[in-house]
Symmetry: D2
Subunit: 365 residues, 4 copies
Amino acid sequence: MERDRGNQYTVRTDLAFEAKEMYVQEKAKTKEIKGVLSKEVDIDGIKVSHIEITKEGERRIQKKAGTYITIFTDSVIEQDTNRQAKVIKVLAEKIRELLKLNGVKEKSKGLIVGLGNWNVTPDALGPLVVDKILVTNHLFELHYETVSEGYRPVASLTPGVMGVTGMETSDIILSVIDRFQPDFVIVIDALASRSIERINETIQLTDTGIHPGSGVGNRRKEVSKETLGVPVIAIGVPTVVDAVTIASDAFDYLLKHLGREWQEKDAPRKSLLPEAMPITHKDLSEKDLPSQKGRETFLGLFGNLSDEEKRTLLREVLTPLGKNLIVTPKEVDQFMKDMAHVLASGINEALHESVREGNSGYYTR
Amino acid sequence: MERDRGNQYTVRTDLAFEAKEMYVQEKAKTKEIKGVLSKEVDIDGIKVSHIEITKEGERRIQKKAGTYITIFTDSVIEQDTNRQAKVIKVLAEKIRELLKLNGVKEKSKGLIVGLGNWNVTPDALGPLVVDKILVTNHLFELHYETVSEGYRPVASLTPGVMGVTGMETSDIILSVIDRFQPDFVIVIDALASRSIERINETIQLTDTGIHPGSGVGNRRKEVSKETLGVPVIAIGVPTVVDAVTIASDAFDYLLKHLGREWQEKDAPRKSLLPEAMPITHKDLSEKDLPSQKGRETFLGLFGNLSDEEKRTLLREVLTPLGKNLIVTPKEVDQFMKDMAHVLASGINEALHESVREGNSGYYTR
Amino acid sequence: MERDRGNQYTVRTDLAFEAKEMYVQEKAKTKEIKGVLSKEVDIDGIKVSHIEITKEGERRIQKKAGTYITIFTDSVIEQDTNRQAKVIKVLAEKIRELLKLNGVKEKSKGLIVGLGNWNVTPDALGPLVVDKILVTNHLFELHYETVSEGYRPVASLTPGVMGVTGMETSDIILSVIDRFQPDFVIVIDALASRSIERINETIQLTDTGIHPGSGVGNRRKEVSKETLGVPVIAIGVPTVVDAVTIASDAFDYLLKHLGREWQEKDAPRKSLLPEAMPITHKDLSEKDLPSQKGRETFLGLFGNLSDEEKRTLLREVLTPLGKNLIVTPKEVDQFMKDMAHVLASGINEALHESVREGNSGYYTR
Amino acid sequence: MERDRGNQYTVRTDLAFEAKEMYVQEKAKTKEIKGVLSKEVDIDGIKVSHIEITKEGERRIQKKAGTYITIFTDSVIEQDTNRQAKVIKVLAEKIRELLKLNGVKEKSKGLIVGLGNWNVTPDALGPLVVDKILVTNHLFELHYETVSEGYRPVASLTPGVMGVTGMETSDIILSVIDRFQPDFVIVIDALASRSIERINETIQLTDTGIHPGSGVGNRRKEVSKETLGVPVIAIGVPTVVDAVTIASDAFDYLLKHLGREWQEKDAPRKSLLPEAMPITHKDLSEKDLPSQKGRETFLGLFGNLSDEEKRTLLREVLTPLGKNLIVTPKEVDQFMKDMAHVLASGINEALHESVREGNSGYYTR
């Protein structure tokens, strides 16, 4: 999440899951898209979505061909360490799956890259994860005989961001990779989210690579299998959201809420004002959305815009005023700490058999 | 800013400036309120608002009688250290004004209290300020002869928050004050804002005291001249905002934007969709708001709700869903650091003549 | 560990274990002291020393009557998390023992006080521990019904140090205790060590209380059962050492090394210079000390001074030069983090049955 | 200061100043060494030593040929910000001198490299400095027109340490330099000191380059003009010291103290024990050292060893016992913060004319 400091900020849809959802939504709820295979599974109470995008799918939904896996968990925002432990297991398994799918061998050499700015907490996820990565490469190089069974050579890099280093982040990564010659690369980054529901609640894995600092133009270079010649697994977690998204989500919830009320009361409210004892809805879904007539009654012309149109309009208004703030939850410090623990533990378990088996004294505290 | 962790969070209007604005707005733009004297001055390019609320005013606008001074500055979010230096001067002057107004003598003993949670960056403003306060009381007590001219005895306290200490914050403050017997108290706290425009852009001073952790019921006790028997100056800076406010502000901007366009084009747009080359407005004001008819066209029933009604409705919808996030700008770390520097420097200059005259080696880095 | 900044620093013997050792040593190795009962046990590979000092013992060895328990562990400096887990169990057991010995009931209310300066890493142990303490008192007070079985009310306080607050630390503690009325108090502090062997390697518990900031005169007041009226358990870990101690220890090792060599070679070395293949001793003990003649040959007049005389002389020389540095191991950040984890976990297990039984989601990360 | 974790630690003489002193000392106080030109100047109250080592000097004192400049200042340990400001001016001037001497042009492109481990405070000096470096290269690359006069392109890198990255630090630096192609490099590192007098009290500059992680064998590669093809200025500050050095320094002070007393009393003391009113010496110098006879009387065989022999012997004894601790002053956090401020400000002033002239809003806080 490397961004310019200006206000010309555009929240990119970093999550494949979101890209698909947007597309599906616009295609009038057709759940089948050619070239996009998706399934959803439940592992030990944790929802995991798999999306496979072929070259044909890439053309259709404007998202690079490859595998996208999304793990849904509110264990971090709920500070539930028991469930976080389960997420670590699932994450480790999915990383191994992706590595295997990309032909990475059991003992091959890995480089873990933590993107982001360590001085900006919601952007420090990458560096925080790398801090807890079990690094072993130097042990293999210097004293091969002392490294126990069950480990592989792993190195790590925190390249910083361009505003801090003055250099293209991808240039730093590419030059180090050039010399280090890893067999595969794992890149961790904090993302901008397209929904307030997903902040710190989803972990996305993909083998399609990453553009460090994307979202601010095409100036930065890609870090991917195509540019590096070795598999690149990108792990991303949305940690920030912009005001446009918050407002747009709020209005979506509002419409659904009013739609549900209408259904339940068998008549529209005469006024939108809450009654003495308001009906509060703890869950709202797409089917609660009111009809076009209802949307117009409630929200006028605005109510009938599509999601994308609403966002575009809001962005058009807020950005020149300097009011499209990029924000993060107030509890960002604890969330980043716990999420970094989850990601680093998952990576360590995925890469080292000995960590996986739990017979190791290594620990990320 | 001590808050429960749950979602039942209500953003209190901590800023007197906002309370007045709300009242004025609802009273159909009558700028005169009986019992509320206000003036606005410009000091070296910095806007400063003074509001004096009498007992009569207190009854009218539901804000405690006393003096409220608000300093408006975007020097922190713009990271402009030259202008921050000017704000420090203005802040020091205003603190001295308030102390004098409350009968605090030049050499009397002060206690600086930094409210908030040092583990939650946007709530750590109080502790961060206290960290940079020039503390001298022990020097006066232990080696009176070594303290140079131009200083007064100052002590500091960071009582923490109830979720961390397990005790009422006001109880900790009251018991320490009881023993330390200061002549006056300055309390610093991070606030929740009612507008995205004010986050890290306003510094409010008041002599009316503070309720640590207010906003979560009436359980906490007041820290004020009434409870302590000595003057209490509270300094607050809004550092967080909730999703309801962001959405509500966004819709306010949207209405004004559409209103302005209507005026400029002499006709309503047929569609809200931005044209190829949209008119972007860099400043919008109350007079850009469209008529009732216009508001209804653009935003339906919602468009005709008052500000407070919009907020209430949005809160009613978002809170039970757990989506009324409390958020802070992504750059929170730098903002808190710079704002703490501004506040601490202002307090140090206000309290110690020698710091004011710049002939001191003391420094807040 | 609250200290003046000057050079007039005297390392107090904070550890009872050391006080006894010093006494024994000077009393010509007599291991029995009247009024001082001591035993040493091994629990799961961890050495634990118990010393009971009666009123008579107090007069003899100038250490307050009461119980002193010392846990010896190098698990922190070795970063061995498996053995740290064992130390946590032993520590929890010993805290429970001391609480029981002092008549503290299972459900009574506790206050955990973390002494020290959070801005000075080797002095931040107290605040770091408090950060990880499971605080429950407010839950009991506000929503008694929601607190599960197996917990007791616990609150925490980090009073800071006088150089930062400008107030006597003991005054802050006493005033808060006065209002909060706990049934018992646990105080954590970083100590100065009298031996380089003990830094971060011993945990001492005592029921005799503590003088915050002792070592700089008699100005500070005691925090103990006598002053508070409730039991006070103090937990201390040596984290710093002064240059005098390092030099004095080095010369002690040197003498033992030379004495051992003499024994082994059946003749004194003609020169102290290391040979081509020096004998390196991995363990040296009291019996390796050379005779008086040998000590004089090796180290002249200095060699025949007693330990205390050596220290006094070195202190006399180094202090006025400003060279009696107080130092801490280079790895202080990691050591403090791990030691804080060990102490906080031990306290949490000791105080809450549910944590002890491991069926809790609470966690100190 | 990249070090192995083991005990086989050897304190390298990182400071040219120390290398010369050692040599001079052993050469029986001959102050002239062929091939080593030295002068000492006083700039605004700050002592600065210049040493020029030719190829011949290199052979004699085993220190690489080149220029070594040492700035002596106790302004950081005394926390005297006024004098720190003077040191910044001197440092900036000396950096400019060294750059000019090495043919670096006014507008040429620089890379600032902060060596060391950001998780180990006394080793974090390099990263802390880089954090405050005014980085401009990306502005030149992306928006050349917006960069004001008086700046040059500067980038920065914090490569980490091998124990954290798993890669050779010099490999990371070399690969980034290869791609970035700077015209000159400035490398900052924390050093191990050979004297307790110099910790955080000297700043050494040299144009001879640096071996990241030297002191642990010859495995690491040099970062110098020879390997990079562009000038390399290394800036080092001693931040740690080992127990051998502390003990050896303590004994040196002890001997001088006893020698001085002897002179003053016109007779040796019969006993080393301090009298009721000991003479305390606030300054001791080489001429206070007692004669050989005196040294033997006071310290036996040990007293007659040379400095290097004493160190070797102490190291022989302490290292196998695991007691040759590497330590840092207790106040390490504040010292690192202030020293980083001094170094970064000096570098910023040296590299950018606009910063030098003070007409810049840039600031290292």
